[in-house]
Structures are given as C-alpha cells and as structure tokens.
C-alpha cells in the first residue's frame, strides 16, 4: 500500500520526521439543567469560583510562557486574563443564570456562542480568529466547572509529532515543547496564537490538514514538510531517508545562518560591506534589526499610499511613519524613497487617466512633479521628521531620475520647503542627504554628472534591466530575454559604481540583483559596498560575502566585463563561484 498523503498550509517552516501522537479535543457536552429559585445564587457563586480558578490557572500559564519564551509571548495570556474577567462575558452569564434559572455551564455555553458569532462576523481575519481566545477561556471555565484537569498532554514522551484537530494556546504552552518535533492541525490559521508560539520556537506547523487525526491514528511514522505543506504518513524507507537528509541539511544551514547574525559583513581579506534592508511595511523592521543590518537602504513609501487608499496620507501621517521607522532602527540611517507610484502600481487612481505605455509614462519623479501638492506634503513630512533626529538619520531618494535637470529641480524643491519649515519654526536639517535612483539607462550613462549633483546613488536593477534590454519580465513571450547577467547591464552598473567611487559618494544597489548569490560576488568585485535587500536574505548574503575575497572577486569582475554574452557571463560566474556557493549550501 502506498503511503497516505495530505496537504495543508505550512505556517511555520521546517521539516520533521517522527512518530505521530494524536490529540483530539473532545468538546464537553453541555446540558441545560433548570434550577430551583433557592439554588440560583449558589450557582452564581459556583460560576464566580470557577472563573477565579480559571484566572489563577491563566496567570500560571502566563508565568510559564514568560519563563519559557519571554515576556512578549506571555501577553497572549494577559489577553486571556482580561477575557476571563470581562464584564461582557461575566455579566450576561450571571444574568442568564438568574433570569432563566439555569446551570452555569449552559449559561456560559449560550453567552460564548453569541460572542463567537459576533467575532466570526468581523471583516478582519486576525480579529475573527480571536474567537479562538474566547473559546479557549470558556473551555477552561467549563472544564473547571466540570472539575476537569486539562493537563493530560503535559507528560509527553518525546520526541513526537503532535497531530490535533485544534490546539488551544493554553494547551500548547503547557506542552513539553522540546519534545514536539512539529504540529499538524486540522484547524487553525496563520495568525492563531498556537502558530505564533510554535514559530517563535522554530517548530514546524502545518494547519488546515483535514483528516490528519484519522490518518495519524493508523500510522507509526510520519513526515511533515512545512515548507511545502506536505504530510506523508507511513512513508517508505527511501522517502524517509530522503527527508532526513533534507532535514539535516536544513538544520545545518539554519544554525550556520544564525551564527552570522551578529558577525560583521566582511570578506576574507578584510573588505567591509554594508548590508541594508528594503522595507515596505513597518512590520518588517523587526526582522531587519534582528539580522543586524547597517540601515534601511530603501523604504518604499508608496506602500503608505496603498494602505490608506483611497484616503491620502497628510503631512503629519508622513512625519509619524518616518519618525517611527527611524526610532525603531535604533540610530541606523534610513533611506526613504519618495513615492514611486505609476507604472503598473496604482497608475490610474493617481493620474486619473489611462496611459498607453505606463512603464514609459508618468511615474516616479515625473509623477511627483506633476502633483506638486502631493509631493510637497510628503517632503514636508520627511523634512520635519529628519529635523527631529541627528544629521544623517534620514536620507531622501528620488525615483526614476532620467536626467540631471530632474534631480536639480528636486533638490531645489527640498531647499525651498526646508526654508518654509524653518520659517514656520520647525527644526530642520540644513543639509539632508539627497540621492538619485539610477534605474534609467540615461541616468547610468550620465553617472559622473549625477554623482556631482547627488549625495548618494542607488541602483535599481529591476527597472535598469527592463529599460536597458527593452524587456518586460512579466511578458511570457519575452521573459527569457530578461538577463541580469547581460554585459550591457553589467557595464552600466560598473560605470555607476566607478562614478560614485571617483566622487567619493555612496553607491548602493537596492534591486533584486543585490541579493542574488550569483551576482553578489561580481558586484563586490566591481567595488559595490552597499547591498540593500529583503531582510530575510541578509543572513545568506552575509555568509556568502564572508566566504569571498575582495581581491579575487575584483579580478573575476574584470574578466566578466570583457565577456560578450549574458550566457558567457553566467557560465563564467557559475564556474568561478561553485565552491563558495556550495560551502554555504546555496543552490543557484
């Protein structure tokens, strides 16, 4: 018989191979028991005692979680504490016991059912899932009323894979989590608290695995691949061996990547490199700080507009967001790109018209100039926030600069607004660093002149490649012509890096190329010192750079620049880098 397979949603990544333990939460059957009038107040008292005992248990859970996982996770139980003490729950239950003269269990069940319905109707998935917290608390109260001790899982003989229909966070936190290899849940979602707890401990979780309890009952071994959302029950030995070797590889890589968290980004021969974060949402900042980036190389401010759409952010909104961003980066410089709408992003909503060729149309800095009020609002917010911090914390970058005049105009505008703000009594930076995105080939060709005007440059490779090669990567008919290794693109990039070095200004790269393991050594060899990327890519790129020698990559880059086709460059890089990439287990 071939092994049973199920699919679910992997919400905490990882792989596990082991023995399943199935835990089904059988709901307590609640009966309606009518009470004589004389017993009603006793019943109310019984309910209050059960609530008190539940709260005591929640506090115990809280302390347990705080010790095991840190204060941050203990707050989940603080919410449970508040729910258990909430008058919106307690008052209606007492009312019902008194007016309907029923047992406390029945009253709890009825009131909770109403509350759950209310939560389920909420439009926000996160809030709707909070019904789980209500159910968790109410099942604890019901358990206490029944005289139950909900602690049967606390003495697990591990290591096991826990398969459950649903797992309440209060149960999850009491588990000996060091003995749990993975969770497979039939219910639950990506933001359920059990998922959050597991993720924080690096335990793989698959949710939405319908039928997992049934299959788990009949199996002795199972494989959980939470990267792919795959579950395999009673695998054949060959498949199990394959997963075990993948698991080991994954663990080794993870340990290695954690190691570089606080290590400097420096080549074998001592060239220091700055890894910066590309940030869209403020929620990504934690990840960036965790991996110890040198700053934010690109904050895409257009997300501010998309999130608030159709409302537009005002000056205070801008200042507030940038202020928060700078504060949470703890003193590291933050480069904020003015809104780069247009192209495909929101073009019509903002410009109010359809363009035949939006990618070559009103976008980037052009759009900024065409909406002066819009642009001034953002710049004023930026300048106000910058004035509140020491110099250099906020750097402003203008997108899609295609000629020197555009950059000069933007500079002029900043100077004028700075004067306005100073006159209005705001504290301002007299020389806020201003930079240009180099993503139009014309700007790259004029790199020397750009470098004379700008305080820094940042190469946006996605657009630079598409404009240089006249290829829309999203168009399947021509997608294979989109080649980051194109010698034409490389020569443009080399020109920009050299122009920056000659003028003594920073050059960063914030496109996808900056986190491409094959391209990073080449860029390093071309002299690039600032790489901005998704924070999640930081550990991999840092490990890679620590394997490289600046001197070797430099002679490699010289040779690569002489090649004539994208294919030659690619093959050359693969050959040169095979060893370094294999060392950190990167497959290209």
């Amino acid at each position: 018989m071939s092994p049973a397979r199920l699919a679910g949603l992997g919400v905490s990544p990882g792989i596990a191979v082991g023995e399943p333990v199935v835990q089904e939460t059988r709901p307590i059957v609640v009966l309606r028991i009518p009470l004589p009038v004389a017993k009603v107040e006793d019943e109310v008292k019984r309910f209050h005692l059960a609530v008190e005992a539940t709260i005591a248990r929640i506090i115990e859970n809280r302390d347990h979680a705080a010790r095991q996982m840190g204060e941050e996770y203990a707050t989940i139980f603080e919410a449970h504490h508040l729910i258990a003490a909430d008058s919106s729950l307690l008052d209606p239950v007492c009312d019902m016991i008194r007016t309907k003269r029923v047992n406390a269990e029945w009253a709890v069940d009825q009131v909770v059912a109403r509350l759950v319905k209310k939560f389920e109707a909420l439009p926000d998935q996160y809030l709707a899932e909070r019904k789980l917290d209500v159910l968790d608390v109410s099942s604890q109260i019901l358990g206490t009323l029944h005289g139950q001790d909900p602690s049967k899982l606390e003495n697990l003989d591990g290591p096991v894979i826990l398969v459950a229909d649903d797992l309440l966070p209060s149960t999850a936190v009491k588990l000996p989590l060091d003995k749990v290899l993975a969770f497979v849940l039939e219910m639950g979602g990506p933001t359920s608290h059990t998922t959050i707890i597991a993720r924080s401990l690096g335990i793989p979780v698959i949710v939405g695995a319908h039928g997992a309890c049934e299959a788990g009952h009949h199996s002795r071994r199972m494989i959980v691949d939470a990267f792919e959302g795959k579950i395999i029950f009673d695998p054949d030995p060959a498949e199990e061996a394959e997963y075990i070797s993948r698991l080991n590889e994954h663990l080794e890589q993870k340990a290695q990547l954690q190691e570089v968290r606080t290590l400097p980004t420096i080549t074998r021969d001592g060239r220091e490199v700055s890894l910066l974060a590309n940030i869209d949402l403020l929620t990504e900042v934690d990840e960036a700080v965790h991996w110890n980036v040198a700053g934010v190389g690109l904050y895409r401010s257009e997300f501010l507009y998309m999130q608030r759409s159709p409302a537009l952010p005002d000056e205070d909104d801008h200042a507030e967001v940038y202020r928060n961003l700078v504060s949470s980066m703890g003193g590291r410089p933050v480069t904020i790109r003015t809104f780069d709408l247009g192209g495909k992003k929101l073009a019509r909503e903002v410009t109010g018209s359809d363009e035949a060729n939006p990618v070559l149309g009103l976008r980037g800095i052009r759009l900024c100039f065409s909406k002066p009020d819009f642009f001034a609002t953002q710049l004023r917010g930026l300048l106000r926030a910058a004035g509140e911090f020491p110099p250099g914390r906020i750097r402003i970058m203008f997108p899609l600069i295609s000629c020197i005049e555009e950059f000069k105009l933007a500079k002029l505008l900043v100077r004028r607004l700075t004067d306005d703000l100073r006159n209005e009594g705001y504290k301002v930076q007299e020389h806020i660093p201003l930079g240009a995105m180099v993503e139009v080939p014309a700007a790259a060709v004029m790199a020397e002149e750009m470098a004379c005007e700008a305080d820094f440059l940042s190469i946006g490779t996605n657009d630079l490649i598409q404009y240089s090669l006249a290829v829309d990567r999203a168009n399947e008919l021509v997608a294979d012509l989109y080649r980051p290794t194109s010698p034409a693109v490389l020569r443009l990039i080399a020109k920009v890096i050299k122009a920056g070095a000659d003028r003594g200004i920073d050059v960063a790269m914030c496109g996808e190329m900056a986190s491409d393991p094959l391209m990073v050594p080449l860029l390093l060899g071309l002299g690039l010192k600032r790489f901005s990327m998704n924070p999640l890519a930081v550990p991999k790129i840092r490990s890679l750079i620590r394997q490289l020698s600046a001197k070797e990559t430099s002679s490699m880059a010289k040779k690569a620049l002489k090649l004539t086709t994208a294919r030659e460059v690619e093959e050359f890089l693969l050959e040169k880098l095979a060893l370094s990439l294999a060392k950190i287990k990167i497959r290209v």
């Binding site: 707050t75 989940i76 603080e78 919410a79 508040l82 729910i83 909430d86 008058s87 919106s88 729950l89 509350l115 209310k118 939560f119 909420l122 439009p123 926000d124 996160y126 809030l127 909070r130 917290d133 209500v134 949402l281 403020l282 929620t283 999130q307 608030r308 409302a311 909104d317 507030e320 928060n324 504060s327 949470s328």
Partner: protein, 89 residues
C-alpha cells in the same frame, strides 16, 4: 464628562495587545470609559467589546468618559492612542 475624537494610527488597528492596554489603562480609573465607532459604543474596560469594535488603522473613534476622574482618564487613553499603544507602529 469628557468627549474626545481619537484616531487609530498604528498599523494593526485595535488588535488584542493594544486592546489589553486600553483595558488596563481604563481600569486604573473610577470613571466609566466608552469608545464608539460607526454608531456602536462599547465599554473600554471590556476587551471583548473593544475587539468586536473591529477598529482598523485610520478608524475615527469617539471616546466618552463619565465619572469623578473623567479628565485624567480621557487624557491617559488619548495618550495611549497617540503613542500607538506603546508598540511603535
């Protein structure tokens, strides 16, 4: 009685942790504290009430405080909203 207009500026809206902070703050005062949105008003000392308000980022809220220490209570709640419930976003 104090009435104030508030706005939720943090990204996640009035989520569980933020709501818990509102309850804790409101509980420090004797006054009754209410928050209203879209014509619905809930007791700010009730986390369940606050959560079911489903107030997302940008939602305008009306704060109503009644009782002996209404001014202090209103100021404390307002400060909490202004500093994004101490969560920095």
């Amino acid at each position: 009685m104090t009435i104030r207009e508030l706005q939720i500026i943090n990204k996640l809206g009035l989520h569980a942790r933020a709501a818990a902070k509102v309850v804790h703050t409101a509980n420090e005062f004797e006054s009754e504290v209410f928050l209203g949105a879209d014509g619905e008003e809930v007791n700010a000392k009730s986390i369940l009430g606050l959560l079911t308000l489903a107030a997302t980022q940008g939602t305008p809220l009306t704060l109503r405080v009644e009782g002996p220490d209404h001014a202090e209570a209103a100021a404390a709640i307002e400060a909490l909203f202004r500093n994004c419930f101490g969560e920095g976003e």
